[in-house]
Subunit: 429 residues, 2 copies
Amino acid sequence: MTVRITGVDVHDVRFPTAAAGDGSDAINKGDYSATYVEVTTDAGVTGSGLTFTNGRGNELTCAAVEALAHHVTGRTVEEIAADQVGFWRSITADVQLRWLGPEKGVIHMASGALINAVWDLRARLAGKPMWRYLAEMPAGELVASIDFRHISDAITPGEAREILEKGTIGYAERLAELERDGFPAYTTSVGWLGYPDDKVRDLTRQAVADGWRAVKMKTGGPLEDDVRRAGIIRGELPDGALLMMDSNQVWDVDQAIAAMAELKAFDPYWIEEPTHADDVLGHARIARAVAPVRVATGEVAANRVIFKQLLQAGAIGVCQVDACRVAGVNEVLSILLLAAKFGVPVCPHSGGVGLCEYVQHLAIFDFLRVGRSLDGRMIEYVDHLHEHFTDPVTVADGRYRLPLLPGYSVEMKPESIAEFRFPDGPAWR
Amino acid sequence: MTVRITGVDVHDVRFPTAAAGDGSDAINKGDYSATYVEVTTDAGVTGSGLTFTNGRGNELTCAAVEALAHHVTGRTVEEIAADQVGFWRSITADVQLRWLGPEKGVIHMASGALINAVWDLRARLAGKPMWRYLAEMPAGELVASIDFRHISDAITPGEAREILEKGTIGYAERLAELERDGFPAYTTSVGWLGYPDDKVRDLTRQAVADGWRAVKMKTGGPLEDDVRRAGIIRGELPDGALLMMDSNQVWDVDQAIAAMAELKAFDPYWIEEPTHADDVLGHARIARAVAPVRVATGEVAANRVIFKQLLQAGAIGVCQVDACRVAGVNEVLSILLLAAKFGVPVCPHSGGVGLCEYVQHLAIFDFLRVGRSLDGRMIEYVDHLHEHFTDPVTVADGRYRLPLLPGYSVEMKPESIAEFRFPDGPAWR
């Protein structure tokens, strides 16, 4: 049966989160938003994808999806699956639109939403959750999904294939482990910069009571505030619990090194986004200076070429790929494989809206077929906005339970789209 | 007298160049376009800025200007001049829009158009062409225009000031030299990939007859074609003439090294964009492998953090900053100073539409106050679309003549805007 894509619908959906201080950090104060994409087909099945944005400007990623949609509409799922790289490049290397990136920012994020919607469609047609759809795919088919252009100096198709083939060994045991225990997670909900000290203390206490043994705080404010808040949180955590710090790029390189010399007193497990996201060499210098504290980054790393360099330079000890900042599942696959080649654990970026739903599939697939270890692996968890999805994440005792419904879990409820649609939904009127 | 900005107008202007093969290279086939911005004031004077795009998608940079315009409308020129970094960050580090970059792609290019329009306004109010407006500015005021965040590990405000103060020594002699001889240039009009061999030969012959002694060809097609075309062009050039090559990012790192091993037979002066624009480490490897051929890049280098790293890593021998890919004059200043600190000559990227008009000012200022040498300095020249500007570049005998009218030279003729406005102008109906 041939399934043809008949159209692409895009919705500008925004949630008014900025007012509450949720999601506030050293550099962002956002209304969590989604550029929400649905691909429709002549088979009645639809595919859903989104890219996360921070409020204003969501209209730009929506418009970029519209500018790219003609590469998708009219194609069949079968021809896309048969020429993955051709399909991917038709979107990411469009001879006119590529100039607007290349492969970064608005145009690349829109590509991610669109490409993920097609992947969601494929998984739904196969009747499998995305993690299983990918994890059961033959190595050759996964390799054929990846554009190795501009990363072949770091990983070849042959090396990728070898990693994926090894991933079939012990697969059943790893799956049984996840089905029994779930996937480890950490929470970012305790320490947003917009929260007063008492709220931070109460939230940390509650998180510990709820079973969390790994929490992340925002840093990058005045250093004495960071130190005070780190003391509050560390004071509430039981022995052995992990405390991560996240400065959202606010520091210069030398400033990051100096700040971490003070903050290391609170035994941080990693420092996330210590400086500008594009600064591979700066991250490498910081990594050497703050070891054994790990440097983590990735949520705004533009594409596989940036991740390649972060890994080549020894700049990161944790790879925080995002599901929709890069151009969808195809590019994420290349980044998971690069991380495995360089021996760096992947802890995907999450939070925002829909990101938890997305990245659980990636972390599970990574464990089953690529990284094959839970050592140092955790999925970020933020307890916001899950109620707007038809298949929201389930988290219990600090662990994600396996999603079981077909697809990529980012289908939004029609009533949520209607309520929060910008600018005409009731929430915005 | 206080001058208040009363509004921001943006026009989507596109020229149908793709059909002729003009501007075709290994990765782009564009309709040269401008996101054209006018800031209006209560003093009647207006400022013009633009960012160059490649056709489809120009509506995205236009929409991004609209999303950013509220940071400009209502402000006075005096308050902007008094707090340059504050003004610049209000646009480039908007707490919601920054997520869409950060500082890259659509949102950053739009910032460039908008910020340059304000600079054009300032130069017009001062009654000076942009190069003179900048070149006559005190070192302290230039330094105060620059955001050193994320580059302070490579250049400090004190170092920048020292370079700019040295730039006043011998200033009059350098200016007299430019007034007498003009600024050296090279032409890219001979070797677009879309041109057949005979056209390439004829154009090269004509360029030599017109006084050009430095020409650039596009490479990155099938290697045997590149070799054949290089032979044709080199065969038409007189002894000592420079031949530059430009692969527009199409090669992988190892592929670039292999291709240059063959193409070096034609004595290229530089290889431009040998691989993905984001690949600092890749450029550094290529630079080591192809020396003494220089590696050049910059036309799609997203921001000062990328340039910083290219210089720190020894990855480039030529810095090709673009006037409007980065966020306007302020960020260009930081890049010129970084290049001077690292001893790398600046040959700005040009071509497209309006870029020659823009970058002549930057190269002239660089010579007068920053780099202080013409050794290895050339401005790219492409003989396209100059007729649409009220103060087009003047090039004679392979050299740019100094522009003399006030401003940044990118004001478009109203009749050109009307004719080529997309989608409603007569050229597009």
